[in-house]
């Protein structure tokens, strides 16, 4: 049994004070948001084999606390970019579920009209500005959005989700250098799940070179917090966003997380040998959703009835959204040719 990348957080043991500091409704709302993402991902996964969603999928099951903790710290008007693993960020930022599923089902009313697919979700109405299927491709773009806020005097903060492997692309360091130089209002949010597809971190980055310390050396305010703990993620991003809004410049936040499923597609692929299934099982003991549920329960903020109601409401929403997507129209030949150039 080989656990290369053990969970190193403290679960919710040191989080009692959060209850005093935040509204109960806010704390349960974050739980709802995580649970909803989990259930949506499970629903996608369970239907994927039907081959109706003709798009790659990159599930965030196991990483929900990162998505929700980060996005809960953002205003609707704040801007969010991300990469290929987009579902969590899109949903946590408030992206329309129907638009997302229609996109997966390749429908004309998909959030980008069936042109982008699962790796290119966006919903501008809630600040979910875009994503790129090229690893790290969105990082400088998000940095440009921050430059725009600064030069135009707009109030939003820009945020970008990136993976551990994304930090191996030189453009990330070019972006960080520029953001620190110009003190741009941006938060780089790095979900370090230890893998690039099936390649573990130690085959890609030297030991003892934590990503957030590199970012610190580039002049960014930089921290590492437990990415399975929605409260800690929320606080770290909140303070980074406040810095940005104050004009104190960019931050980098590294959150160790674990993806329970394969890099792409449905199901866990650990059997293929690139990681020990025991490692997955070990992380599942620290499930971001159920761990937080336990915390809320212990704090008296969530009981089984409330939970059941949430599950019910989410399941209805999901069923409706799937039905909506499945019943929507496909695009036509005319749709192929629009928007090549912008007038």
């Amino acid at each position: 049994m080989v656990i290369n990348f053990p969970y190193q957080g403290s679960d919710f043991e040191d989080c009692g004070d959060f209850v005093a500091r935040y509204e109960a409704s806010f704390l349960t709302q974050m739980f709802h948001s995580m649970l909803r993402i989990r259930r949506i991902e499970e629903a996608i996964e369970s239907q994927y084999h039907q081959d109706q969603m003709k798009t790659p999928i990159h599930l965030v099951i196991g990483q929900e606390a990162a998505s929700v903790g980060a996005c809960s710290a953002l205003k609707k008007s704040d801007i969010l970019y991300c990469g290929h693993r987009t579902n969590g960020a899109y949903l946590a930022k408030g992206g329309d579920l129907k638009g997302m599923l229609s996109e997966f089902f390749c429908r004309k009313n998909g959030c980008v009209g069936s042109r982008g697919g699962s790796m290119h979700l966006l919903d501008k109405s809630v600040g979910m500005a875009g994503s790129s299927a090229i690893v790290a491709g969105a990082v400088p773009i998000a940095t440009g959005a921050a430059l725009s806020a600064q030069l135009r005097g707009d109030d939003y903060v820009s945020t970008v989700f990136l993976g551990d492997a994304a930090t191996e692309e030189g453009v990330v360091w070019e972006s960080l250098n520029f953001a620190a130089l110009k003190k741009l209002p941006i938060v780089y949010f790095c979900e370090n799940n230890f893998f690039s597809v099936c390649t573990p971190l130690e085959e890609r980055q030297p030991l003892d070179t934590p990503i957030y310390k590199k970012a610190a050396a580039f002049g960014l305010h930089s921290v590492q917090v437990d990415g399975s703990n929605v409260l800690k993620v929320y606080e770290a991003v909140t303070s980074a966003v406040a810095r940005a809004r104050r004009g104190d410049g960019p931050s980098f936040i590294e959150v160790p997380v674990y993806r329970w499923r394969g890099h792409g597609g449905a199901g866990d692929d650990s059997a293929s040998g690139y990681r020990d299934p025991a490692e997955v099982a070990d992380w599942q003991k620290h499930c971001p959703v159920e761990g937080y549920a336990g915390f809320l329960q212990r704090e008296g903020l969530l009981d089984s009835q409330q939970r059941a109601a949430m599950e019910q409401q989410i399941s209805t929403e999901i069923a409706e959204a799937f039905q909506h997507a499945e019943q929507s129209e496909n695009p036509t030949e005319e749709d192929l040719y629009s928007h090549v150039y912008c007038n």
């Binding site: 801007i79 970019y81 980008v112 009209g113 042109r115 982008g116 290119h120 966006l122 501008k124 500005a129 875009g130 790129s132 090229i134 491709g137 990082v139 400088p140 773009i141 998000a142 940095t143 440009g144 959005a145 921050a146 430059l147 725009s148 806020a149 600064q150 030069l151 135009r152 707009d154 820009s158 030189g170 453009v171 070019e174 972006s175 250098n177 520029f178 130089l181 629009s338 928007h339 090549v340 150039y341 912008c342 007038n343």
Partner: protein, 349 residues
């Protein structure tokens, strides 16, 4: 958008080259375009290595930092890929970047952002975002520029959907196309040529546009069509001039834009003359000459009185040394030879 109004106003007049009036150098014309655009629209900003240093990008960005302040005119870290992405993001969020490079060679560092991102975003986003961005660079030649500082890479980008590619030839066009490029809501690449930059020409004051995607006749003639842009076309025109006394006349078609490509003017002229000399500052193989030659072959090969000819760079990297450079680049003489061969093809029945 202030652009649309200023544009409507200007449309009536100057859409084609004026021959009398105030003269400016090519560089001054570009400088004036940037200055006017920045004054008109606070979202326009200019960046690049050299835009606010003593060289001011060959003079193109002279005085802009003083006039508009350093947040809008700034030197960059040497991070071409990153800055191209940053411009893309800035453009998606309301700004209009003009990113200047001393040499097109440096754009090769940014192909991921140009080709995988900027060019596609409007389409991928189903029209919800747009990328109004200008990437400007000046093709180098001579004095040992060599293989890494002289490349004319417009041909490498001609295939890429969503891009516009502009190559002006005159001060008038340089200004008018720069203004059109800044006003355009798409990523526009402008490739200048260093050897045109001292040229003087009539340049109207104020804002006017030269339409992107429209070629223009520089000369009318009967024996052949010379088709191309920028310095390559200038060289061909010199060659043509040297043949005038032999009674040779040509249509000289300055495409001004390579993408979208003006098929109409190409075919109109070639159908009239039956002979085409296609010229470009880049490699002859692949790229610009190839596309134009192919457009003719797929539209009207039957009217050709001779096989088409293309004159670009040979299939070699640019050598640095002076003697080799002279041998490498097309010259007035080699252009003239190409014209004569086109008129008297060997083995054409």
């Amino acid at each position: 958008m202030p652009w649309s109004e200023a544009f409507l106003e200007s449309q009536q007049t100057h859409t084609t080259t004026q021959v009398v009036g105030r003269e400016l150098s090519y560089t001054q014309a570009l400088n004036e375009a940037l200055s006017l655009a920045m004054a008109l629209d606070p979202n326009v900003f200019v960046l690049g290595q050299g835009v606010d240093d003593p060289s001011t990008m060959f003079g193109v960005t002279k005085g802009l930092a003083e006039q508009f302040g350093s947040p809008r005119v700034f030197e960059t870290p040497l991070s071409e890929e990153g800055l191209t992405g940053i411009c893309t993001g800035a453009a998606m969020h309301g700004l209009r970047p003009v990113y200047c490079h001393n040499r097109p060679d440096f754009l090769l560092l940014a192909f991921n952002q140009i080709v995988n991102h900027a060019s596609k975003i409007h389409y991928m986003d189903n029209g919800q975002n747009r990328v109004p961005m200008v990437i400007w660079s000046a093709i180098g030649r001579g004095w040992g520029s060599g293989a890494q500082h002289s490349q004319a890479i417009q041909g490498l980008l001609m295939s890429v959907p969503g891009l516009k590619i502009v190559m002006p030839s005159t001060p008038y066009d340089a200004k008018g196309l720069m203004l059109s490029a800044i006003a355009d809501n798409n990523p526009v690449l402008i490739f200048e040529h260093r050897w045109l930059m001292k040229q003087q020409g009539v340049v109207p004051e104020g804002i006017y546009n030269v339409p992107i995607g429209k070629g223009i006749y520089r000369e009318r003639g009967t024996d052949l069509s010379i088709i191309g842009t920028s310095h390559a076309l200038a060289l061909a025109q010199q060659a043509l001039a040297s043949l005038k006394e032999q009674g040779i006349s040509a249509d000289v078609v300055d495409l001004r834009t390579l993408k979208p490509l003006d098929h109409e003017i190409i075919l109109e002229s070639v159908k009239k003359t039956g002979r085409a000399l296609i010229v470009d500052t880049g490699w002859a193989m692949g790229g610009v000459c190839a596309e134009i030659g192919c457009v003719i072959a797929e539209n009207c090969p039957q009217i050709l009185k001779a096989p088409i000819k293309r004159v670009g760079l040979p299939d070699l990297p640019t050598p640095a040394g002076h003697t080799l450079e002279q041998l490498y680049y097309p010259s007035e003489e080699s252009m003239a030879r190409a014209i004569l061969e086109l008129l008297n093809p060997i083995g054409m029945e």
